[in-house]
């Protein structure tokens, strides 16, 4: 058994004039949890289907452990996959669903029983092996689908928005469970989602896709803190953009020069990323960047107040007020100053440089 390394090179796939995959190249390391993140139509599911063998690309190469897979039929790929709506066979019970891949591999009944029960135990479903699929809840189906995908110990596990059909609480719980399972089993995992929070929580690395291309491929921390373009920045968190201008050897927000801790991701004019949690109520005028504005409205959010602030030039940003800032809750109409540290000040361009 190999290690589970995937090398994707120059994969193109078009449906008529629409380019679903526009020359994707990507290396997935053995054992890593890699998330393909992007909006609908970005090509993430198409790419996953290319890896699974359900879509044949127009050109390119797909190497799994240094073997060319591009024309190999899906049933000869030995990849585990968890489908979006689970795709459990409704005419089989839980046990038979999980046993199905093993039966196809001609494994003897005794071992099938042991391995199926082992897989079901892994996903905490070992008491329900005789249930019909129609009798299971969404979360339980999710677990069965997972058990079926890992029971034959594939080197690579593919997951296509597996948690999208679950409600919020269960989804967060399953995120943690999937993460732990990955740590335990150590199989290479390719995970598709459009939910940035999910991607940040679970991944070793994230590949952000847009219009059939990989826009940024990096660790969750870097993707969030140092997006390389406006698209990635806008996709992560509650991001607002303020236009900045390049003159006199520095970036200017309005007529104030910006202090940046890292190299900006653009040449000329760009955008300053402003997220509510990075804004400070107080700062050092010598060191930090100052933003002046006027309070527009204040919305109570339970854990905090979310405050909208209008800036010169018809721009708007927001900031949270939790009550621990040592500042009074302002009132609408009040003029205030907000602060961004140089480390929290990131400037991006419209496209990747």
């Amino acid at each position: 058994m190999g290690a589970g390394k995937v090398s994707i090179r120059h994969v193109h796939k078009a449906y008529g004039a629409f380019k679903a995959l526009d020359g994707i190249s990507l290396d997935i390391y053995p054992g890593e949890f890699l998330t393909l993140l992007g909006p609908s139509g970005s090509g993430k599911t198409t790419l996953l289907n290319v890896i699974a063998g359900f879509e044949r690309p127009d050109s390119g190469s797909l190497m799994v452990d240094d073997v060319e897979f591009i024309t190999r039929p899906p049933h000869k790929r030995d990849l585990g996959m968890v489908f979006q709506n689970y795709a459990l066979f409704p005419h089989m019970d839980v046990f038979d669903n999980v046993a199905y891949p093993l039966k196809l591999r001609g494994i003897d009944r005794e071992s099938i029983r042991n391995r199926v029960m082992g897989a079901l135990e892994t996903v905490h479903m070992d008491k329900l092996e005789a249930r019909r699929i129609g009798e299971l809840s969404g979360g339980q189906r999710q677990r069965v689908a997972l058990a079926r995908a890992i029971v034959f110990e594939p080197k690579i596990l593919l997951m296509d928005e597996p948690l999208s059909a679950l409600d919020k609480n269960l989804r967060e719980h399953m995120q943690m469970e999937l993460k732990r399972l990955h740590n335990r089993l150590g199989m290479t995992t390719v995970y598709v989602t459009h939910d940035q929070q999910e991607a940040l929580t679970m991944s070793d690395r994230i590949a952000v896709l847009d219009r059939g291309r990989v826009v940024q491929l990096d660790t969750p921390q870097n993707i969030y803190d140092h997006p390389n373009c406006k698209f990635v920045a806008g996709f992560m968190g509650e991001t607002r953009f303020l236009p900045v201008e390049w003159r006199d050897n520095s970036y200017h927000l309005g007529n104030r020069s910006l202090r940046l801790a890292s190299q900006p991701y653009c040449d000329v004019n760009g955008w300053l990323i402003v997220r509510p949690e990075r804004l400070r109520w107080a700062g050092n005028a010598q060191r930090d960047n100052r933003i002046a504005g006027k309070i527009m409205d204040i919305v109570y959010r339970g854990d905090s107040h979310l405050i909208s602030v209008s800036l010169a030039g018809n721009h708007e940003i927001s900031i949270r007020h939790t009550g621990l800032e040592g500042k009074e809750l302002p009132v609408p109409g009040q003029e205030i100053e907000l602060w961004l540290t140089p480390e929290a000040s990131v400037v991006v361009g419209d496209a990747v440089q």
Binding site: A52, G53, F54, P73, P74, H75, K76, R77, D78, L79, G80, M81, F83, Q84, N85, A87, L88, F89, P90, H91, Y100, P101, L104, R105, R132, I133, G134, R148, A149, F152
Partner: protein, 300 residues
Amino acid sequence: MTVMVQETEPVVLNNSLLQRSRNLQGISFIGLSLPAAMLVAAVLIIPFSWLAWLSLFDAAGNLSTENYVRLLRPAYVDSFLTTFKVAGLVTAICVLLGYPVAYLLSQLPQRATQILMVFVILPFWTSVLVRTYAWLVLLQRQGIINQWLLSSGLISEPLPLVHNMTGTVIGMVHVMLPFLILPLYASMKAIDPVLLRAAANCGASPAQAFRQVFLPLSLSGLSAGIALTFVLCLGFYLTPALLGGGRVAMWSTQIADMVAKFANWGAASALSVVLLVVTGGILWGVNRFMRVPDAWGGKR
């Protein structure tokens, strides 16, 4: 500050008033179906019940089982067997021919399906009489098929293709095939194609995926189609009457003969009652049996 309604007045729930209004509404809507229901009762239910009642009396007007006992005579038993034989044969051929068509219909892209569907529905819309006539023309002694076979040298004598069982079965298959294909197609269309991907992902070859996933999931639709086809065959009159040439005595043709030729209402009614009971019994049985597959086919 607490806000509460102080209940100083007696509680008015209007239960009986509301119930009456609900009942009235229920009656008024169902009342819209009354004219249609009355017509169906007058044209179908009352005449048939009347005939069923008559079947319990002999020619002299005494209560007797004579009409039913007579059905045990060989001539009737033969027609009983012929009817089931024809219905079984026609249904079996329809399954063999219809399953691949329904399968392909369910798998093709939408445009191709629409075009192919027209070919399945056109016979459906064409008068049974016209189609039966066409088969008569095709299958008769000097018909096209015999002419072609003779001129190609495959046979030296015209084959007896019509006015017998062969012609009846061919004609009936042609009529019944859409009745099998359409429900079967509908049930196949409801099978989530992602299940076949899942099977492939588990390691199933296309043939294995078909046998182990698609086929079992299509069985509920198939049994519905089989039941429909079989039951329609049992009571089918036109094609056996025209293509059977009097040699294929099916239930329906016998009922017609008894009324038209012998005016023997008692026997015809008894035969109809038995046919109705058998038909109803099959539909009821299938419906009960189908519950189980529906449970897993329905919700996912």
